[in-house]
Amino acid sequence: MYVAVKGGEAAIENAHRLLADRRRGPRDVPALTLEQIAGQLALAVDRVMAEGSLYDAGLAALAIKQARGDMIEAIFLLRAYRTTLPRFGYSKPMDTGAMLVERRISATYKDLPGGQLLGPTFDYTHRLLDPDLAGDDMPEQPERREGAAEESRMPRVTEILAGEGLVEPDGALPDSTEPADITRTPPEFPQGRDARLQALSRGDEGFLLALGYSTQRGYARSHPFAGEIRIGEVEIELDVPELDFPVPLGRIRVTECQMINQFKGSAKAPPQFTRGYGLVFGQSERKAMAMALCDRALRAKELGEDVVAPAQDEEFVISHSDNVQATGFVEHLKLPHYVDFQAELGLVRQMRREFEERKQTSTVKEAAE
């Protein structure tokens, strides 16, 4: 059955005009500036950068404003923008040990070198709404501890522990392996840990959080400890043909999580602590922890564990972690399916007719008997 599909141009144009008005909000209230969004909604900006997989605070702030604060829409906008840019190359792997640390805690070692640095954390706040923030708040200047050592490296907890051999070393792959790039190569399963980490780093925080939580509740129990969480700025360098040294590009802020997990050993490996790793743009502690839990759960096969829970199922986790893909497929259901539906409607009518006929026949038969 043919169904007319033209029309709606004026409606669409007017809908977009209405959207622009609603996005702007009451016009007697000043418009938000991108500096306000980047400066005061910084963790929203970080999330959009992380899941948009593009580090640019100004663009992420613009995306949040344009999306009226709809985070997944903002992430979608950032992903779409990145496809318009050429790729200059791959950076050198960054060294999180040389991070200018703004927060660094360990739940496994109280007295770790460099100390427990709480930084700007929500932990230990009372989660009581603060009515003062309804106005133009001006908090006190932060306290400073003068003479803080200008050390160049703060060793990761896992480096400190490596000596005894009770914790597995950092994940190694053969040196010749060129890291996978899921933005260039369509995913194939099974994936390497490098490809999985790339997917997890841009994966939806809510989805990974739920999966990480499921491992704690017993679905692929892995007895995790937060070995270390650190947040801060790291240098980025790029090899370019025109210069004979790696060019410094500046710094980005990242959150790194080292999860340490109990492991009873297997045929392949002795009893030791195993690890899950999280690395995310910006200050994104919950996401980095969830990522590390999922990374560890997804290593089940590698470590000879039974795959019994959703968080261990690589294809399930990786294929459903990208919220731009997910929203695309779910939201496409809104688009006109008139023809599809007409066809299904015809089919159901026919089936219903046949059903009624069968019923009629059997009633007649029963009456006759």
């Binding site: 640019d56 007295d111 427990q116 709480l118 400073r144 501890r145 410094p248 690395l279």
Partner: protein, 152 residues
């Protein structure tokens, strides 16, 4: 040879300082330096992406974990020196001027002026920012103490 240690910059250090500096500061210090701006563009300024790499576990195999915007420029001075600049972000005018600065610094007669008028002030500002952040973080360090136990 009493040039203060403060104003020594390798080409790499100079590029690092310029990459981190805010656009308005680079433009203002360059304008105030009186150094000539004349240069032919060879490439850009243009914005693109760099895929950022981390290491599994922090020190293991490399993996790609996201991209960042990067803006670069290359210029040639009338006297032939070629300068380059690269920096995270989308600041195009900063990229062009930073490439001019890179080219100018290759001429020995300009080196001290580039260092004193542009690079040294930027580096001082960056050290100040880092130092403040370090001190603010250090103030949040937990100083554990053990409560006296009764049986001791």
């Amino acid at each position: 040879m009493a040039e203060p240690e403060q104003s020594q910059f390798s080409r790499r250090e100079a590029m690092a300082v310029l990459a981190r500096a805010p656009e308005d500061r680079v433009l203002a210090l360059f304008a105030a330096s009186g150094l000539p701006e004349a240069a032919t563009p060879l490439r850009g300024p243009e914005t693109g992406l760099v895929a950022l790499r981390g290491r599994i576990g922090g020190g293991g195999a490399a993996f790609n974990f996201g991209e960042a915007t990067v803006t670069r420029a290359s210029v040639k001075l009338p006297t032939g020196e070629v300068g380059h600049s690269y920096a995270l972000g989308r600041a195009r005018e900063k990229a062009r001027i930073a490439a001019v600065i890179d080219a100018l610094a290759q001429k020995p007669e300009n080196r001290a002026r580039v260092a004193d008028a542009i690079l040294a002030p930027l580096r001082a500002e960056q050290r100040e920012t880092d130092g403040r952040r370090r001190e603010e973080t250090a103030a949040t360090q937990v100083d554990f103490f053990t409560m006296t136990r009764g049986e001791d």
